[in-house]
Every structure is written in structure tokens, then in C-alpha cells.
């Protein structure tokens, strides 16, 4: 009963806020349902978290938000369609690092992540780790690279060819002259299974927490630009002394040219619900971090990484 009344209370206060918001804006956006496109299939973590965020934002905006899955081609299909959608704030995309700054750096995708989109906010981003089997001789990331430099050939598995983790390690191999051999798998799950079965020496994958806690795998480093709060003692690759990072983002974007007032309103609403306790609790269950960032900051990350990865891809193609 307690639970029921408190949720009613939240709803009431949400309603009150809603009245406040709608009077604060000259335009009466939104007047019709908003579509949030998800570039992956229904039921994945990006999809589930986007659905939750949308259902929370729905209550704030007073209009339904329809989540539409448009999977395929590593998320680039959905990006292309939203880039060409009308910039009125009614078509948004909840998207991730790969179609934002990895795939566009590698091959033509038919959109420009910087010029064709206005970032609204970042709300999540699973940490990718450098993982070895628990009985592996490598105890630190430095040790691993030193071994690879002194002639031992190290194979590493990733979720697929030309993904962020692959390009990051390729960069390290170039910087240090280490012998790192890439073995792409079909998804992060298969790559994790391969390192558990010792078919590869290292795997660069997300969703490793329980396997590390169960001491089946050892976490040597984090590819992200900050440490994984679940493993505070494990350094990022930058901290370990290698100039490489793969910042994982999950954010909402609108087509470029959307009215700044609408963008501001959306940013405020989504930021508010992304910071809510309900969303945090939900994401914790999903084993996904909540990483709220302003649209401006997200835009910066996209721009700088797009450049970095373009250079990596260019070097790779010249080998």
C-alpha cells in the first residue's frame, strides 16, 4: 500500500511539473506523439533502456513516445533515416558509440554524425573491459603489452570487425609495436565465451561484472575514459600509460536544425528523468551504468572521437 501511495505522489508531482513546464515555453511542443528510433532489435539493452527512459519522459511531456526499432547494418540504417527525418523534434534517436563515431570513420554510411544531428543528452554507456582468463599469466595491462612487445603473439577477441575495441587495440599495436592479433566474433557474447574457453588470450567486451567477481575472468583495464565504478581499482588504458580510449556512449539525438528551444526542452526533460531514482534502479537491474552528460558534451565526444577513429582507420587501410 505504501508503495502505491508514493507512486501516486510522484505522478501528482509530475503532473504539477508538467503544468509548470508547458507554461514556461512559448511553443506548445509537443502536440503529438514523439518517435524515438532505436537502431537495434527489440529486447536488447539499448532498446529496453530507451523504452524505460521514454516511458518516464512521456509523463513529463504529456504526449506518448513511441519507440521504433530499426535494426541492421550496425545501427547505421536507423541513423540514416533519422538524419533525413523532419527536424521538428518529433523524431529522435537513442543511439550508441558504434554508429556515432566508429562505423562512420571506417566506411561510408550516408550521414554525418556531427553535421546531421543535434545531440540532446547522454544517459548511459556500458564499460568495455580488457579481460583475460583468471589463470592467465598476465596480471596487469602493462604486463600484457610488454609480453606482446617481446615477441609473444597475443590474440584478442571482440564483438566484431572494425568496432571501437578493435580499432583501439590496433592503435596500441601501432603505438607500441606489440604483436596483437584481432579475432572478430559474432557479438560480444561469443567473444566472452571464447576467452572463457581460452580460444583467445584476451577479450574486449562489456557485461563482464559477474564473471570477474566469480573469478572466471580477470579485468586488466577499462577502454572507457573513466573507471568502471564496480571495479574502482582497475585503471583505464590512458591511466595505464597508453594513449587510447573508447568512450562508450548511449545518448539521444535529434536531426540537425531542430528548434533550439525544443532541443533545450527535450534535454531538460530527458536529463531529469535520466537522473531520477526510478531510472537508476531500473538500469542497475539491467547491469547498465547511468552516465548523464549534456548534449554539448556528448557532441564534443562524438566530434573528437570521430577524428581519432578516422585516423586509425586511415592508417589501418594503408597497412
Amino acid at each position: 500500500m505504501m508503495k502505491l501511495s508514493s507512486s501516486k505522489l510522484i505522478k501528482c508531482s509530475a503532473l504539477a511539473l508538467l503544468v509548470g513546464i508547458s507554461s514556461a515555453y512559448a511553443n506548445d511542443f509537443p502536440t503529438k506523439p514523439i518517435t524515438v528510433v532505436v537502431p537495434y532489435g527489440a529486447g536488447g539493452t539499448t532498446d529496453i533502456s530507451a523504452r524505460k527512459l521514454s516511458s518516464l519522459a512521456e509523463a513529463e511531456l504529456g504526449q506518448p513516445i513511441v519507440v521504433e526499432n530499426r535494426p541492421g547494418a550496425s545501427g547505421t540504417n536507423a541513423m540514416r533515416s533519422v538524419a533525413n527525418a523532419r527536424a521538428d523534434g518529433y523524431t529522435l534517436i537513442a543511439t550508441t558509440s558504434s554508429p556515432l563515431f566508429v562505423t562512420p570513420a571506417v566506411r561510408p554510411v550516408g550521414y554525418d554524425s556531427v553535421k546531421d544531428f543535434t545531440p540532446i543528452l547522454n544517459y548511459s554507456g556500458p564499460y568495455h573491459g580488457v579481460l583475460v582468463p583468471a589463470d592467465s599469466p598476465y596480471k596487469t595491462f602493462d604486463g600484457l603489452i610488454k609480453a606482446a612487445k617481446s615477441g609473444t603473439s597475443i590474440s584478442y577477441g571482440t564483438a566484431g570487425a572494425m568496432g571501437g575495441p578493435h580499432l583501439s587495440f590496433e592503435l596500441i599495436a601501432r603505438q607500441t609495436g606489440a604483436k596483437l592479433k584481432h579475432v572478430p566474433f559474432n557479438g560480444a557474447g561469443s567473444a566472452t565465451a571464447a576467452v572463457l574457453g581460452k580460444h583467445v588470450d584476451v577479450a574486449l567486451v562489456p557485461a563482464y561484472r559477474d564473471l570477474v567477481l566469480d573469478s572466471k575472468l580477470r579485468l586488466l583495464g577499462v577502454l572507457d575514459d573513466s573507471r568502471d565504478p564496480d571495479f574502482e581499482s582497475v585503471p583505464t588504458l590512458k591511466e595505464a600509460g597508453y594513449d587510447v580510449e573508447f568512450p562508450s556512449v548511449v545518448g539521444v539525438m535529434a536531426p540537425a536544425g531542430t528548434d533550439p528551444e525544443i532541443v533545450e526542452q527535450l534535454e531538460m526533460t530527458f536529463t531529469k528523468v535520466a537522473k531520477s531514482d526510478e531510472f537508476k534502479a531500473f538500469m542497475t537491474k539491467l547491469n547498465q551504468p547511468v552516465r548523464v552528460m549534456t548534449g554539448e558534451k556528448l557532441g564534443g565526444i562524438i566530434q573528437s572521437n570521430l577524428e581519432t577513429y578516422r585516423n586509425v582507420a586511415k592508417e589501418l587501410s594503408q597497412k
Binding site: G43, S153, P184, N186, G189, A194, L211, F282
Partner: protein, 500 residues
């Protein structure tokens, strides 16, 4: 623990969840194009507010129901609702054409239930050791297994072997389209972004099997479409327990194959269904009856594709590593219920997990009841006049192809596959090997190349692995057997004729 779990099931909501899950699953599975992945993904938000046991029971009921539901349309219409029921269509539809559709459906139902129960028991008893064992399957072992699977289908799938081999190769060739799995470079995409994903399985399946049927009817010489066509009479059909018991070895082998292949990532349920069909045919003394409507031809693939469900849950739950799209979605559902799959699942949530497994086994009872009720209505589908039936199939095929990725390109792929399927069927080529080639082409290529990458290009990786060696040995033995059997048969025939 098992008893505590059983007590946790004594809740009316668990029953409601199990029944509604199964009914939804069967219906969605029966519609071509809509599969368990989509059904589960759509139902996940419904389960947000439910407590863990009914929520997961509902979703897993959909999973099992959908795999079985696919065979209803496969048997009655020769249109597989899901890829894995394409094997069931071979003998199931042959039976339906003789008016024995009811019998085929019942055999399929009982075999499905047998496969389900078997794989659930394996899941309860051996989840953790099997999950660890499956990790031994690296790229080299997977490559050997897939090679074996391809050969079983060519050698024992029935029909002319050269035709089957050609079709497998055509399927493998079709799988080359899209991004290279190792380098990520586009192949045969002609700069079309839409083709980077390659040919999607569901549109190709729906086209090859459903749309080609429509094209066949369209180009058939017929005086007038308006005239009613003679349709098979529905033969009253009973399947007694003895009939199923006679097939116990087939059911057991098929369930074993299904469960085992299910544990391995990335192969899915279509390949084990055809492998089981091939094996049942090879073992049978009446191999000539396969393809003409043999009970075992329906039972073998159905037991196998349903057994995959339990097998696929093993690595998903015990390691938190899903093998395919369906189990990835189920993994998400478990997490949302606070039951995070992985090494701690059985330790921390034993009661809930075992309760869910027991619910899966017990839901065989409602599955049988609702299955039998549904059949009473469904068998009349074969009495529908073609002029009503085929437009319906066309609409379903178009919708099904579109719904996979919400993409119009898939609809064109479906229509193209339908035309190719029509040509091949007119020329009497078997379609299943084409489907298997398409399914296994990319993973086989990827596994071989992964193996070569990890071994620095040395083939030793195949000889140094016991599992890979055993599988390659099996492959060699299968080839020898298939070469010897006709020779032996010929000798026997000659002996027989000389005696006369």
C-alpha cells in the same frame, strides 16, 4: 530446493502466465515471419509489473509455444512459420495432403513436448557442467561441427545428393553477400547500404517456402480459378501412446541433438531439426517412406527444434552469455526481474530458477490440451479453397518479411527468394539444403577464419583438438557409410534376384 521451488509454483498467476504464454506463442509462431524473438520482446514490457516466476514463465512459454506453432503452418500449408519448422514441412505436409493433417499435428505436438521435457531435465540437472563443457567449443571445433552438419544434410536429407550439394553451395554463396565477418569490408553489396546486412533469414525463408508456393499456383495450368478444387478429405486421426513409444529412439536422439546444438552459440534450431531428420532417415528401415509422410519424419525435427530451447538457455543462464537473438532477449527479461543470469544465478536465486524450470516442464500439460483443441479448428485449413488461401498467404508473407527489420528491402528480398524458390521447385531441386547453406555459410566461414587467425594459419589447430578431430572423423565415417549403403543394397538386390 526442488520442493521449495514446486511450492512457489502453487500460484494461480503462474498457471495464467504459462497458459497465456503458450497460447500467444503458438499463434505467433504459426504466422510466417513473426518469430519468438519479436513475441518475447513485445511482451517484456507487459511483465515489468509481474513477479519473477510468472513473468519468466510467460516469456519462456512464448518461446516454446512459438517453436511449436511454426510447425502448424508448416504441416497444414507447407509454409513454415519459423525457420526451424521447415524440416517438419517435408513429411508433415505430405501427410496433410493425404488428409492426415490431424495425425501429423498430433505427432508434432507430442514430439515437441518430449523434446521440451528432455531439454528442461538436462537444464535442471546439468546446466553448469554443460555450460563449462560448451566453452571447449572454440572456432576450430565449431567449424568441424558445422561441416559435419552440412554433410549430414546433403548425405541423409533425402533426394538426389548432387542436387542437395548444389543447393547447399548456392546457399553458402548467398551468405557471402554483406559485410565480411572478419575484415568488415562489403561484399557483393553494390554500394547499397541495405545489403550490408546480407540476406536476412526470415525474408528468404518466407520467400522460398511460402511465396514460391503462391507463384507455383499462379503459373499452374488451370481452367478457371473460380471452380472449386478437389480437396483432401480429413481423415480422423488418433495417435496412440504406442505409436510414440515406437519412435522412442528417434525422439531421444533428436532431443539429444537439439539440446546439444542449442548449447553451442550461433547455430539456432533449424540446423539440428534437419540433422535429426537426416539421422532418423538414415537409421530408419523404411527410409523410402521419408518425404511421403512418415511419422518419424515429423517427430524427429519437432523433438529437436523444441529441445533447442532448453539447450540454448544453458549458457544464457549459467554464464550470462546468450547464443542467439531470442536468448539475448530472454537474458534481458531475467535481468529486469532482478535475476541476473551468470555464475551467481543458481546460487542466489535457486528457488526462483528451479521453479521456472519446473513450470516449463509442467506447462506441457496445457500445451497438449490447447494444442489438441486448436487442431480441431486448424485442420480445416486444408479444406480452404486455393483462391482464398493463396491471397492470404501472400499478405502474411509481405507483412512477415517487412516486420523483421521494418525494412522494405526485406520485402523485395522475400519476393526475389520466392521467385528463385519457384524456379528451383519447378526444376525439382530441394530447398532445405539451400536454407541450411544460407544459415551456416557465414558462421562456417567465420569459424574457419577465426581458427586460422588464432593458429597463425596452421591447420594443426584442427588436429590438436580432440573434439574437432572426433567431429571430422564422424564426417569421414558418414561419407563412407553413405557410399557403402547403396553398394550393399545393390549386392543384396542382385542376390535376391539371382535367387529368383
Amino acid at each position: 530446493m526442488l520442493l521449495d521451488a514446486f511450492n512457489a509454483l502453487m500460484d494461480i498467476w503462474v498457471l495464467v502466465a504459462a497458459v497465456s504464454g503458450i497460447v500467444t506463442g503458438i499463434i505467433i509462431g504459426a504466422i510466417p515471419g513473426l518469430g519468438p524473438t519479436m513475441a518475447i520482446a513485445l511482451l517484456i514490457p507487459v511483465t515489468f509489473t509481474m513477479s519473477p516466476i510468472p513473468a519468466i514463465t510467460l516469456l519462456l512459454g512464448v518461446y516454446q509455444g512459438a517453436i511449436f506453432g511454426g510447425s502448424i503452418s508448416a504441416i497444414l500449408l507447407n509454409v513454415p512459420g519459423t525457420p526451424s519448422s521447415a524440416a517438419t514441412a517435408i513429411d508433415g505436409y505430405a501427410m496433410a495432403r493425404k488428409g492426415e493433417g490431424g495425425r501429423a499435428l498430433r505427432v508434432a505436438l507430442y514430439a515437441s513436448v518430449a523434446g521440451n521435457i528432455f531439454s528442461c531435465l538436462v537444464l535442471i540437472v546439468l546446466a553448469e557442467p554443460l555450460a563449462s563443457f560448451a566453452l571447449n567449443f572454440g572456432p576450430a571445433e565449431m567449424a568441424a561441427l558445422m561441416l559435419f552438419a552440412l554433410l549430414v544434410i546433403v548425405l541423409f536429407g533425402g533426394g538426389v545428393r548432387l542436387d542437395a550439394a548444389l543447393m547447399v553451395l548456392l546457399g553458402v554463396f548467398a551468405s557471402i553477400i554483406g559485410l565480411d565477418p572478419i575484415e568488415g569490408t562489403p561484399r557483393f553489396t553494390f554500394n547499397s547500404f541495405a545489403m550490408e546486412n546480407g540476406l536476412q533469414l526470415i525474408p528468404v525463408l518466407v520467400g522460398l517456402f511460402a511465396m514460391s508456393e503462391v507463384f507455383l499456383k499462379l503459373f499452374q495450368k488451370q481452367s478457371s480459378i473460380k471452380e472449386p478444387v478437389d480437396l483432401p478429405k480429413i481423415v480422423p486421426s488418433k495417435v496412440r501412446f504406442v505409436d510414440m513409444w515406437r519412435m522412442r529412439a528417434t525422439l531421444l536422439w533428436s532431443s539429444l541433438i537439439g539440446t546439444f546444438v542449442g548449447i553451442l552459440p550461433g547455430i539456432g534450431s533449424t540446423v539440428p531439426a534437419f540433422m535429426s531428420y537426416g539421422l532418423a532417415r538414415a537409421r530408419s528401415k523404411q527410409a523410402h517412406k521419408f518425404g511421403q509422410g512418415a511419422d518419424e519424419g515429423v517427430a524427429a525435427p519437432e523433438a529437436a527444434n523444441n529441445a533447442v530451447t532448453g539447450g540454448a538457455l544453458i549458457p544464457t543462464l549459467a554464464l550470462g552469455i546468450p547464443g542467439d537473438a531470442v536468448t539475448a532477449v530472454i537474458l534481458g527479461a531475467f535481468m529486469l526481474q532482478g535475476l541476473a543470469p551468470g555464475p551467481f544465478l543458481f546460487r542466489d536465486y535457486g528457488v526462483e530458477v528451479y521453479a521456472i524450470f519446473e513450470a516449463l516442464i509442467l506447462s506441457s500439460i496445457p500445451t497438449i490440451i490447447f494444442g489438441l483443441l486448436l487442431f480441431k479448428v486448424a485442420v480445416h485449413v486444408i479444406r480452404i479453397q486455393p483462391r482464398h488461401l493463396f491471397p492470404t498467404i501472400t499478405v502474411l508473407a509481405l507483412l512477415g518479411a517487412f516486420s523483421v527489420n521494418n525494412s522494405l528491402v526485406d520485402v523485395w528480398v522475400m519476393l526475389g527468394a520466392g521467385f528463385v524458390g519457384f524456379l528451383l521447385r519447378r526444376a525439382d531441386f530441394p530447398l532445405p539444403p539451400l536454407l541450411i547453406g544460407l544459415i551456416l555459410g557465414t558462421p562456417l566461414e567465420q569459424s574457419v577464419r577465426q581458427a586460422m587467425l588464432t593458429s597463425n594459419g596452421s591447420l594443426d589447430i584442427f588436429w590438436n583438438s580432440g573434439i574437432a578431430l572426433a567431429l571430422l572423423g564422424l564426417t569421414a565415417i558418414s561419407i563412407l557409410i553413405s557410399l557403402c549403403i547403396p553398394l550393399l543394397r545393390k549386392q543384396r538386390q542382385q542376390k535376391g534376384s539371382s535367387n529368383v
